[in-house]
């Protein structure tokens, strides 16, 4: 990584560890974020609890991670070429980009969870009542 990239990553890390609002973070250019070594650096220095013992709260981490995946997604210009490298890498070190697909799953899972909560508070009483009546 050249020094400009390193500098911009350090600024990002300082802001992140100071819990600066995710929409105010100064991100490196999308093209920079696309590089695998940059993503590995970000994972190790911003999200890897084995390397950083005092990570920000999880909710904040998640918000930043979502913003990051959106940026990486945006940076992909040629799916044939770009997707092959950063999105489906065969290197075990490339954690961040592999979160990309999972992020899509997140939306599905969390919306199911929200739906489940709604059901719990409202409708679940009906089957309970029916059971009760059967027992009687």
């Amino acid at each position: 990584m050249d020094s400009t990239v390193q500098r911009s990553l350090r600024i990002l890390r300082r802001q992140y560890l100071q819990l600066v609002e995710p929409n105010l973070l100064r991100w490196p250019d999308d093209a920079v974020l696309k590089a695998q070594e940059v993503q590995t650096w970000i994972f190790d220095h911003l999200f890897n609890s084995e390397m950083v013992s005092t990570l920000p709260p999880e909710r904040y981490q998640l918000r930043v991670l979502k913003s990051l995946t959106a940026r990486i997604e945006r940076s992909i210009e040629d799916p044939e070429e770009d997707v092959r490298c950063p999105l489906f890498p065969y290197s075990p070190s490339n954690y961040i980009v592999r979160t990309y697909l999972l992020d899509l799953m997140t939306y599905i899972i969390t919306s199911f969870m929200v739906l489940g909560q709604l059901l719990k508070t409202g409708f679940i009483r009906y089957p309970a009542l029916i059971n009760f009546m059967f027992i009687v």
Binding site: Q18, L19, P57, L102
Partner: protein, 186 residues
């Protein structure tokens, strides 16, 4: 991938809950002699980000003024004022400035004080996070003490060392210090 998965499955607290929980915050000041900006002066604190005032104290989060004063103390001029000196900090709150001074700015000793005892306990925890345990009486490094200091009582110069384990301070630091009179009277 595993990280996002664990974040998702870890039952993240709701917005309002997490707003009240204490979180790690790391404030980083660059060094003056920039080694390509690689050296950083970091202070990590456990603080309540969203709470300005609660439980009768305002010391649960780091205030902007402390950050600005920290910036000044990291400058050449600021560092000249505190280098090798004995420092007393008033209204230390999270202890950010005291920790910055002890950990990175070469003070001889520092007594970090606040009017609220619970806040002083939090300062101790933050000192520990930064490897500055007050209980450990090591010969090296600055002396670091904490105290719940009630204002309005005279401090005797000769008994200061007995009470606080540090010689009479050369410099008194205070950033956005407020005194809640209604609390003192209660």
């Amino acid at each position: 991938m595993s990280h996002l998965a664990s974040l998702l499955s870890s039952n993240i607290p709701s917005e309002s809950d997490s707003a009240q929980q204490k979180a790690f915050v790391t404030y980083t000041y660059p060094t003056t002699t920039t080694n390509n900006g690689l050296d950083e002066r970091a202070v990590t604190l456990l603080e309540s980000r969203s709470i300005i005032s609660s439980s009768g104290t305002t010391g649960l989060r780091t205030w902007e003024a402390a950050l600005v004063l920290g910036q000044f103390l990291c400058s050449e001029r600021g560092a000249g004022i505190i280098d090798g000196k004995n420092i007393l900090e008033l209204g230390a709150g999270t202890g950010m400035l005291s920790i910055l001074c002890a950990k990175h700015l070469g003070v001889s000793g520092i007594v970090s004080t606040d009017g609220d005892e619970a806040v002083v306990d939090a300062i101790k925890a933050n000192l520990f996070i930064n490897g500055l345990d007050t209980d450990e009486k090591s010969e090296q490094g600055p002396k670091v003490e904490t105290a719940a200091l009630k204002w309005g009582r005279p401090i005797n110069g000769s008994s200061f060392e007995e009470d606080y384990g540090m010689a009479v301070p050369d410099v008194i630091l205070g950033a956005d210090v407020v005194s809640c009179l209604h609390k003192l009277s209660s």
